[in-house]
């Protein structure tokens, strides 16, 4: 049991405040068919580690650090399994909702990991560069550079 008087808000509020961005992040990172797994595993891990959160103001960066690790794990699993056709895949597995922009997101998912995560954290989870830096364990300048490089690369690929 987490000690009472830790000053942390009820965990339900973490889900309420950050759940929408977290599900968007998971969907963007690993696709709609596995996003629910990523969402649940992130929040279960966060619930387990909640007492380790010292500063409630850092909740978002803390939560997305966990999410980024879970996404990497799930991404690796996915890479190990035979790769389906990205367009078919973007249509979603049975029961999963299709993405509105499959062409873009299948390209995002092919970016180098740091760039991919930087871009999803920036645009889907709406994190600041400083928060992205914290999540990815890199400098703020490196976070900016990763977003920048990812955009440049996506622009190039989409133009082809």
């Amino acid at each position: 049991m987490v000690a009472a008087g830790s000053g942390l808000p009820p965990f339900e509020r973490v889900v309420e405040d950050h759940g929408p961005a977290l599900l968007r992040f998971c969907t963007a990172e690993i696709g709609p068919e596995r996003a629910d797994d990523c969402f649940q595993e992130t929040l279960l891990a966060a619930l387990r580690a909640y007492e380790g959160l010292r500063d409630p103001r850092a909740t978002r960066a803390w939560l997305f650090s966990i999410a980024a690790r879970k996404a990497v794990d799930l991404h690796r699993e996915r890479a190990r399994s035979p790769r389906p056709d990205p367009d078919l895949e973007a249509l979603g597995a049975v029961g999963a909702a299709p993405e509105p922009d499959p062409a873009l997101w299948s390209r995002v998912r092919s970016l180098p990991p740091k760039q991919r995560q930087a871009v999803t954290l920036r645009y889907q989870a709406d994190l600041s560069h400083r928060e992205i830096a914290r999540v990815l364990g890199i400098s703020e300048a490196a976070a900016r550079r990763n977003v920048f490089e990812a955009l440049a690369r996506l622009r190039e690929e989409l133009r082809r």
Binding site: A4, L8, P10, P20, T27, D36, L44, E99, L104, V119
Partner: protein, 231 residues
């Protein structure tokens, strides 16, 4: 992100790309529309509710939730029912702010407060429904008394023994809790009853015969007493 932001180290490769891009007059628009496309949500909102429901179910089986809560519709309005592994720990009346109730649980018990899975807390919810339908005269639920200590707890325990449809005065309750002179303290304990309805503090009235106060408002108190045929 924009080109205009200065003071950012740019790799040689990026600088080369930047020069190439500069020649493209569509660049600014292109960059903005790409960012707009990236911001568009790939997750429809109805999926969020499903994902949260699945989380509640999984979390409940892990033993990681110290307080599970459910919202329950009643004739008084929406109640919040909070349970710990020991029993019902809190009933929030419609007059109470939900955020404040959850904050209190986090502060006084544990911040691991999470919505319970659909269908959980069935026994408590069923008994509340039966009570409001006039089909139940006493609750048979395990209670967790940890939000009331000492004399306050004694007052609540004494209150829990007032039968359905009967009333007692603050002085009587104070006496049954062991301090006949402490009717004011008894009133304060009842005003902060963490388990209204289950511990029927609405059955305690001033000896003047007036209705007296109630955490859920005087109107709710009058309705409950009328339901029980007490007044």
């Amino acid at each position: 992100m924009s080109w205009a932001r200065a003071g950012r180290p740019i790799s040689r490769r990026a600088r080369a790309r930047r020069l190439t891009d500069m020649t493209n007059t569509d660049l600014r628009l292109d960059s903005r529309s790409l960012e707009a496309r990236l911001r568009r949500a790939p997750a429809p909102t109805d999926r969020l509710e499903r994902a949260r429901a699945a989380l509640a179910t999984r979390a409940a089986t892990t033993g990681l939730v110290d307080v599970a809560f459910a919202r329950h519709a009643s004739p008084l309005g929406t109640l919040i029912v909070g349970v710990t592994p020991r029993g019902v720990v809190r009933v929030g009346l419609p007059s109470e702010d939900e955020d404040a109730v959850l904050d209190e649980l986090a502060r006084r018990i544990s911040p691991r407060v999470l919505a319970s899975p659909a269908g959980a807390l069935g026994r408590a919810r069923r008994q509340l429904d039966e009570y409001f339908a006039g089909r139940r005269r006493r609750f048979e639920l395990p209670l967790d008394w940890q939000l009331a200590q000492g004399f306050r707890r004694a007052v609540l325990r004494a209150t829990a023994r007032i039968p359905y449809g009967r009333t007692a005065s603050y002085r009587e309750v104070a006496a049954r809790a062991g301090s006949p002179a402490a009717s004011r303290a008894a009133g304060s304990a009842l005003a902060n009853n963490p388990l209204p309805l289950l511990v029927p503090c609405h059955r305690v009235l001033p000896s003047s015969g007036a209705l007296g106060g109630y955490r859920g408002g005087a109107d709710a108190k009058a309705r409950l007493l009328a339901l029980e045929g007490a007044r």
